[in-house]
């Protein structure tokens, strides 16, 4: 009897050992760190969905280095300290090889020290303000030079001479507008033709350019009246970095005031196809967007991507919204990030973050839905930039494209 017990114990432990070595051999853990609840959930949930789709696609094709990807999904809950906690959990407890996550710049700033402490690897997919370069983060996102600058170039080409800057009051709009303020002046636009107001510090240096409203601001009457007076001369446009709900009130007020996209186009940097699901698209028709990917891109790669994603949605796990889905730039940049990581792992021959980062720095290309992207030594990507015009159905018609734009995070003070 005693022997039997020993035997069974031995068998069980052997099975446990065998089992664990089996999983370690067959799968590799990666983290997904997005807000699945709270205010940011509406945007970030789409990124979780696209990541799960990408993992399934790679696993179906044989995985990475012969291993299947095993996602560890955690919820940042739109709360920045929670992001840091969850990042620590992913790195210390789950020991993930790489993490795909974050949306707001402030959440990235919170997890940055965690990734540096554990020497991990994070892929960040959403357009941001630059002025940051962590050795442990790869920014697949659009830098200012890949969104705001090309958009301004396009408007200058179109003959607009006055620029009104408006945004939500936080780090991304403030920094982007300061860079644009310098850039516009370098292009010969006079200070009085840059609208929205300036704030200077004691020494007279401009520390804030443009008009700012808090998150969830809803009364845009005064600002729209100001924009209307600003555009009276007929050669003005608006650069919009308002985030979230406020865009509804802003565009409704703009439409009601009689300002049309023909008189004064508004180019928005935070509104992609996914956001249009909750916006009055009718009021946005004719206004502009600038991203490194549009769902309407007419390329075989993009068509295949959209088709596969829609096919995957049908069999998607519970909790994934299946109706009325679209693809947008942050989603595609997440997708590209996973494939770049896969290519880097295969090049390095290991999942070790340090070696993977080295491989990425050496320059790896991937033919994504938005065109070819190439990783750079400075942890950003070279990619194509597109200017699009909003249509009634919430899609963009592509007006202009700029090929292979280099990703440069440090632009302040370079013009």
């Amino acid at each position: 009897m005693k022997n039997l017990k020993k035997l069974s114990l031995g068998l069980a432990s052997a099975a446990a050992l065998f089992g664990s070595s089996l999983t370690a051999e067959e799968t590799v853990k990666v983290g997904v760190l997005h807000s699945l609840s709270g205010t940011m959930a509406i945007s970030e949930t789409s990124l979780r969905d696209i990541l799960l789709f990408t993992f399934d696609e790679i696993n179906a094709a044989g995985g990475v280095l012969g291993k299947k990807i095993e996602p560890v999904v955690v919820d940042g809950a739109s709360d920045w300290p929670t992001f840091a906690e969850k990042a620590e959990q992913l790195l210390a407890q789950d020991k993930v090889s790489a993490t795909f996550g974050c949306w707001t710049s402030v959440s990235r700033k919170f997890v940055l020290p965690v990734y540096e402490k554990y020497n991990g690897l994070l892929f960040y997919p959403v357009q941001y303000e630059g002025e940051e370069l962590s050795p442990n983060i790869f920014y697949t996102a659009e830098a200012v030079g890949q969104q705001a600058i090309p958009a301004v170039d396009y408007l200058l080409e179109e003959g607009y001479k006055k620029f009104y800057l408006i945004g939500t009051d936080y780090v991304y709009p403030q920094t982007t507008n300061l860079v644009l303020f310098e850039y516009l002046q370098s292009k010969g636009i006079k200070v009085e033709n840059i609208g929205g107001g300036l704030r200077k510090d004691a020494s007279g240096e401009v520390i804030s350019a443009g008009k700012y409203t808090p998150f969830s601001h809803s009364d845009y009457q005064q600002i729209v009246a100001e924009i209307k007076a600003f555009t009276a001369s007929g050669d003005a446009c608006v650069i919009n970095t308002i985030n979230g709900d406020s865009n509804v009130s802003f565009f409704k007020e703009i439409a009601a005031s009689g300002i049309t996209a023909d008189d004064c186009p508004i180019v928005s940097f935070s509104l992609s196809e996914d956001e249009f699901r909750s916006l009055p698209t009718k009021d946005l028709v004719g206004h502009l967007g600038c991203w490194t990917y549009f769902m309407s891109l007419d390329t075989p790669a993009n068509k295949k991507f959209v088709k596969n994603f829609n096919k995957w949605l049908k069999t998607a796990p519970a909790g994934v919204q299946k109706e009325g889905r679209v693809t947008c730039s942050p989603m595609v940049l997440s997708y590209n990030g996973v494939y770049l990581w896969k290519a880097a792992v295969e090049k390095a021959g290991t999942f070790e973050p340090e070696a993977v980062i080295k491989a990425l720095e050496s320059g790896i290309s991937f033919d994504g839905p938005g065109g070819t992207v190439t990783s750079q030594k400075n942890h950003h990507l070279t990619k194509n930039v597109y200017i699009g015009e909003t249509l009634e159905d919430g899609q963009f018609e592509i007006l202009e494209s700029y090929d292979n734009v280099y990703g440069e995070p440090f632009l302040k003070g370079t013009f």
């Binding site: 205010t39 009364d219 009457q221 509804v248 409704k252 007020e253 018609e397 007006l399």
Partner: protein, 542 residues
């Protein structure tokens, strides 16, 4: 004989108009199918034609009602979709398209942004003869601002025949703006600048500043002085417009505040319930509009005339829906909380979260869109101050709601009961007033008012699960400043806060402006803790 001649004359005129339109349609068809390099030559042909049909077609082209259709491998024609039928552009022949979505020969075409700009100047020239005075004004200003000599001639010839005095002035303004770049000599230029100053032309301001800068460099002191004078005139006129604008916008902001706070003025002000779920009752109003809109769209289709009535139907329905829910909640929850303010704070906060989550479960986390009925689209401009019809509607609606509430409270038996119960529950009860019924009805009425606010807000803001949160702080602020229990006070405080906010914004921006408003309110409540109209009471507690 004369009659026959006349008839013949009319016939010839219509025929030639028809012939011209046919020619226009041919050119338009070529333009729609042309590559971008060929387009510029064709647009020149088009501008020579100047047919009103061009405008008609360009609008349709812009809104996606124009298609290219491959009749055979070598022949492609242009179809225009008019009231659900596809007609050939050149001869109006009807084409039967069975499956619009999947027909491979059919594809929607759009003018490029560049082409649209060119077409816009052509349609603007046509608009100079539009029967709508506003269209004439807008077209004239645009052509003037382009400062091209061709359009200057068009404007100069049109001003001769213009009869509307207001439009004439705008034509004059447009001509002078164009002359800023095209004047024959300095004398004419000076005359134009001076005239633009008299007309207080804001669109001309940038141009005049440019001339002033040039004149400063070349040392033309007289020109600098004339420019400075004109700019001063423009700026002072603009200041007046701004001041009036602030007042009007203040009223509009005030009416939004008032309408969201008025339900709370009943439930919190009169009944003393700290209802943190007030914002969610506002959201009920917004969502009711959304649901009614969808029902109308399903029943009548979005293009029908009946669909336009969805909003006006939704307003009373939202009042009833929220009223019924409020009535039920009063019976099931609030009546146990009348003497326990702290518990009521926590319980209603919980209720607010439950309701938000219910909205999310039913309608999704994303905002939903409530369309604006056609009559509320557009704006109204008087003396340079523009106010959209939706804002005017909200102001009018606020006045209507106050009037109705006042009538209810002061002219009806129920109103009398409500006032007596609110003043002293026990006394009212001992006099035979059905206190618990009055409580339920009053609370239901307050909730109904909140939903009316939501219905109004659906026209100017977003409808989403958390839409009420944006307004809850403002609502309490209005009620407290006005004096708890005083409806007139709520009205005055809402208008006051709105106007102060709008006057501060241009100087300090929306963020600082709001902070200053809050700060002023804190100081005010230190000075007058009971608000504008404190409730006089003989009770020892108050």
């Amino acid at each position: 004989m004369k009659k026959i001649l006349l008839l013949l004359g009319i016939l010839v005129a219509t025929l030639s108009a028809q012939a011209q339109e046919d020619a226009t349609r041919d050119v338009l068809e070529r333009l729609a199918l042309a590559s971008s390099s060929e387009q510029s030559a064709i647009t020149e042909e088009l501008s020579a034609l100047g047919d009103p049909y061009i405008k008609d077609f360009v609008d349709a082209w812009r809104t996606g009602e124009v298609f290219s259709y491959d009749v055979s491998e070598s022949e492609t024609i242009v179809l225009r979709k008019v009231s659900e039928k596809f007609r050939r552009l050149s001869n109006d022949e009807i084409f039967e398209i069975a499956d619009e979505e999947n027909d491979e020969n059919l594809s929607k075409i759009r003018p490029s942004r560049k082409l649209r700009k060119v077409l816009k100047t052509i349609t603007d020239t046509i608009d100079l003869s539009s029967p709508d005075p506003r269209a004439r004004i807008e077209a004239a200003l645009k052509l003037g601002l382009s400062q091209k000599t061709d359009y200057l001639e068009a404007l100069q010839s049109k001003i001769e025949t213009e009869e509307n005095e207001k439009v004439r002035l705008k034509f004059e303004e447009a001509i002078n703006i164009s002359l800023l770049a095209n004047a024959e000599d300095d004398e004419a230029l000076k005359h134009s600048i001076a005239r633009l100053g008299e007309l207080a032309s804001l669109p001309a301001r940038d141009g005049i500043i440019g001339i002033q800068n040039e004149a400063t460099e070349s040392g033309d002191a007289e020109m600098v002085a004339i420019c400075a004078e004109a700019i001063k005139d423009i700026d002072s006129a603009q200041k007046t417009i701004e001041r009036w604008g602030n007042l009007v916008r203040g009223m509009s902001t005030g009416s939004v505040l008032l309408i969201v706070a008025f339900g709370l003025a009943i439930t919190f002000g009169l009944m003393g319930i700290i209802n943190m779920a007030h914002g969610e009752f506002i959201a009920i109003g917004g969502y009711t509009c959304y649901v009614v809109q969808n029902l109308f769209a399903d029943a009548f289709g979005t293009q029908s005339a009946a669909y336009q009535w969805f909003y006006w139907t939704a307003i009373p329905i939202s009042f009833v829906v929220a009223g019924v829910i409020g009535y039920g909640l009063e019976k099931g929850m609030f009546r146990f909380l009348y003497k326990r303010p702290l518990e009521s704070l926590l319980a209603t906060w919980g209720l607010s979260m439950i309701m938000q989550q219910l909205f999310r479960l039913n309608f999704g986390a994303a905002n939903v869109q409530v369309n604006t009925p056609d009559v509320l689209i557009g704006n109204f401009e008087v003396a340079g101050v523009a106010l959209s019809y939706t804002r005017i509607f909200v102001i009018g609606f606020a006045v209507f709601v106050i009037l109705m509430t006042w009538l209810l409270l002061s002219k009806t038996n129920l109103g009398l009961y409500i006032r007596s119960v609110m003043q002293n529950r026990n006394m009212a009860s001992s006099l035979g007033i059905p206190v618990s019924k009055v409580n339920s009805l009053t609370f239901a009425f307050g909730c109904g008012l909140a939903a009316l606010a939501g219905a109004a807000l659906s026209q100017i803001g977003n409808v989403g699960p958390t839409m009420g949160q944006t307004y809850i702080v403002d609502s309490f602020m209005v009620v407290v400043v006005g004096g708890v229990g005083n409806l007139l006070g709520a009205g005055l405080s809402a208008m006051g806060i709105g106007t102060v906010d709008q006057f501060l914004q241009p100087y300090w921006g929306p963020v600082m402006g709001k902070i200053i408003v809050y700060f002023v309110i804190i100081l005010f409540l230190q000075w007058k803790p009971g608000g504008l109209f404190p409730t006089k009471s003989r009770s020892m507690d108050d």
